[in-house]
Symmetry: none
Subunit: 537 residues, 2 copies
């Protein structure tokens, strides 16, 4: 079967979603992860409309992409302006990507009533802009915005906008269901008509083959994925979408569904079998970076996607999983969950423990028991896949191998505010190290900062070389927000010294206690590493 | 066009979803709301498997349903048992509903490998059970479980299971995509073949018309709604689904999408235009009762379903809304929202301010100046597109219209931890209302919860009707995590009372101060609404 080209627009159209915001630096990290699973195109932003996006393209130049082409996005030239004088088109060139996507208007209503433009000038804008970019040796993807609505309103004009782009040399023509109101059976019929029209008129792609069509859908009817699939069956060779379907209003087509459907159900090559296994972790990475709660029932990659509730016998699932599962969850890096007992996981833990360099030994704890304890903690909101440092300490505790390098005696944190004055926070921390106690106090920018400073000060007497250690990231996630201010909170801390980066976690109804756990684990982890180096010297 | 019968299974299949649980009493209340919008069938539960479900049917007998028929659900008889001795079938009769749904196995794999049954006995079970229920004067809906998988595995046998039910007098044959793995084009082809087969064999419905088919889908490929629509186009006259798509794994077909698609896009009569306007509030009612956070980007009924972010000119939306919206949001009881971020201009602010019911007036502040101030705050980490409540207060402050209904004098929060004991948090809050001061203290699950409790207690003396107000979501986001524990933090709080939901925001380096800002805004917003209601009465 013919391959399908995947075009990710998480970083551009995805950020149109309410609450979806990324810094330029986060965008680069996400782009590298998307690249890593083998997506073909990554749309990075709209340099002409947003200075942050230009910053992204500058940063991205230094990054090493293995599969994907980076794409800059923009609009056709402004009415009455020459292409080489148009700021937006120049910004596209400045971004330095070898591929650019520009969108133009297909719908009479937008041209005339919204833009106050003429139909002819709109066609000229499309033609000139594509041609200008082709002159400048770019691969050009043309997004026909509102194509399906435009077609239903004035078929002939909508088709003319496409031919304006094709005649100017566009490499791909992407039909967009911008308002998301089109149903699959309508979309199929329209695409078939477009293909007939282009064939009858003798239009070819730059290589002389049929014009290469793409599809870009939105989920306002819950049909974004279905429409994408329908378009591929009708002949589209490029699909646009976002990770987790993030996007404006009801979102874009969700690549985390579309990729496995293409690969596993329709046998259309897109990414490799090995890369498909990274899909769940990519989904999680993007939701974590956006600080959005991952959707449990998201098809394929959600936590509940292969969760079986009462009534089904575990042994039956084990015996004939395909009786209850439409695919093997492992194919997309997900896992079966039976909401009663623990079953798998033993081998995972053994693998992970080995990776961290811990000997399980024969301390009365076997890995099965550890799995059960971890599952319990995960139930409470811990997430050890993003907190190696805490996981290491946990396993050491389970196997009686943990040697605390300090112990907490007590802490007090006070936050005070008077009228319009800023808050002040100070903390008192009392610890003991090898029987010796130390009590100190410190201020901070807030309660956690005050605790951090006080702990650092107290440890300094025993471990003077903590200067090289820095906390580089601090994330807070409310786990069950529906309990309002009594919700449980998960704190993730990322720390580094000159050699390493490590992550620790804390969970509590009390945000300060959760922060303390993550903070204490981070210091314990660092000190243990130092001890090991010292004793091996 | 022919009408489509709506069959709701929120109370049965919906409760298979992780975290979806209702008491018998809550189920009755939900059933009445579903009835109220004109759904035709409401599946209440499985009396044979769950005593709570029997309790529901007892309670429901006393309730007054206007449109819907209540349905009891169960399985075919057990192997080797006479129908009139089968506990499950007897429980169905006991439930007292005039319509019953029973499911049977269509897939060889389930019959033989999972159930250890014979293919012939399975056919007899289907036939006998339907016949027994028909003898007992019930309308019978037959759910062909795993039909599509069964068909692909052994077409002939899957079709025989249907004819076993039809020959016994089943009123409706519902084809189920139980594992959710079927794609629309496959489903369409199979339904067409089923219809041909039944026609060729001369099967009729009890009224002598073609056999009446229904469709029941799951969302494991994100295709539940698309499959339902495809089935209706292929001739199905009954659709099964749940409110908000709640259900096992990735959920069931979502009636909150399917109903408006049938009515508005496919012009197939199902519920009245007036009832369609209740759809959003029904969706919200069910998520509130389930205590699940409503999905903002849910098609048609989600809070973001008609929310417009940057890049689009507000004046254009006002002028030609259909240029940006696939339907009028009012048709499903939803509303347009213009998000305040990326405020490219004056008109956005003016629109938003009008939406919130504020008069800008001539208080020396023009909207241009407000835009500049908002941009500055957004630079610092505020995000007003997700905090309408705080935005309203902010604009009132800018225009000297803000009347604080309480003022903070001071607060103190203390968090204490001793060794392995859990943290304790307590707060003291001093406020003044109209010159009168009140100081109170309270404990909480953490510092923010303690502050919340103390503030509530202090306000109670002046505003005793705050009981109806609840904080339903609490989100924390670290803005510049790279500063470690000194990072700035953004707190978002979502609150509700019986009528409204509102969002407020706070930003500070001190997480407690940020929480306080969001908390205080939430209470100010609520109290201002109450004042307005009071003064207009």
């Amino acid at each position: 079967m013919d391959p399908v080209l995947l075009y990710d627009t998480t970083l551009r159209d995805g950020t149109q979603g309410e609450n979806v915001n990324f810094s330029a630096d986060e965008k680069v990290k996400i782009a590298l992860r998307i690249d890593d699973i083998g997506v073909h195109y990554i749309e990075g932003g709209w340099p002409g409309s947003n200075p942050k996006d230009m910053q992204f393209f500058d940063l991205a130049k230094k990054a090493d992409f293995k599969h994907a082409r980076l794409v800059a996005f923009g609009s056709t030239r402004k009415p009455g302006i020459q292409p080489d004088k148009d700021d937006n088109l120049l910004a596209l060139l400045d971004s330095g990507t070898s591929t650019v996507t520009i969108f133009g208007k297909s719908w009479e209503l937008h041209v005339e009533e919204v833009m106050n433009n003429t139909l002819d000038e709109n066609l000229a804008m499309i033609h000139d802009s594509v041609k200008f970019l082709k002159w400048n040796k770019r691969e050009v993807i043309y997004d026909a915005e509102h194509f399906f609505d435009g077609y239903l309103n004035n078929r002939e004009y909508a088709l003319q906008t496409l031919t304006a782009a094709i005649e100017a040399g566009a490499d791909y023509i992407v039909l967009c269901d911008t308002n998301g109101g089109t149903l699959p059976f309508e979309l199929e019929a329209i695409i078939a008509d477009v293909q007939n029209y282009l064939e009858e008129k003798g239009f070819k792609s730059p290589e002389g083959a049929p014009v290469k069509l793409g599809i870009h859908t939105h989920n306002d009817c819950g049909m974004a994925a279905a429409n994408t699939i329908a378009a591929v069956r009708a002949g589209a060779v490029m699909v646009h979408g976002t990770i987790n379907g993030y996007g404006e209003r009801c979102g874009n087509a969700d690549l985390t569904s579309i990729i496995p459907i293409l690969s596993l159900k329709m046998k259309r090559p897109s990414i490799s079998v090995d890369n498909l296994k990274k899909l769940k972790s990519l989904s999680r990475y993007v939701s974590e970076t956006a600080n959005l709660v991952p959707l449990n029932n998201r098809p394929f990659v959600g936590r509940s996607a292969f969760a079986h509730k009462g009534g089904i016998h575990v042994s039956a699932i084990m015996k004939v999983p395909r009786a209850y599962e439409h695919i093997d969850p492992g194919l997309v890096g997900n896992e079966r969950r039976v909401l009663v007992s623990d079953l798998s996981g033993k081998s995972n833990v053994e693998y992970k423990v080995k990776e961290l360099g811990i000997e399980l030994g024969n301390n009365g704890y076997d890995s099965k028991k550890i799995v059960a304890e971890i599952k319990q903690l995960e139930q409470e909101g811990y997430q050890f896949d993003v907190a190696d440092g805490s996981f290491k300490i946990l396993v050491e505790k389970f196997t009686d191998q943990f040697q605390p390098l300090f112990e907490l005696e007590s802490f007090r944190v006070t936050i005070e505010k008077d009228k319009d004055q800023p808050c002040t926070a100070h903390a008192t921390v009392k610890i003991s190290v090898g029987g010796k106690q130390e009590i100190t106090a410190a201020e901070g920018y807030g309660p956690v900062s005050a605790l951090d400073n006080a702990l650092r000060k107290a440890l300094d007497r025993f471990y003077p070389d903590l200067d090289t250690m820095r906390l580089i990231d601090f994330k807070v996630r409310v786990i069950d927000g529906t309990r309002g201010t009594a919700a449980r909170v998960r704190v993730l801390i990322e720390s580094r010294d000159q050699e390493r980066i490590w992550n620790t976690i804390g969970v509590s109804e009390d945000i300060i206690e959760a922060s303390w756990q993550a903070l204490a684990d981070s210091f314990q982890y660092k000190l243990a590493k130092e001890e090991k180096i010292r004793s091996s010297n």
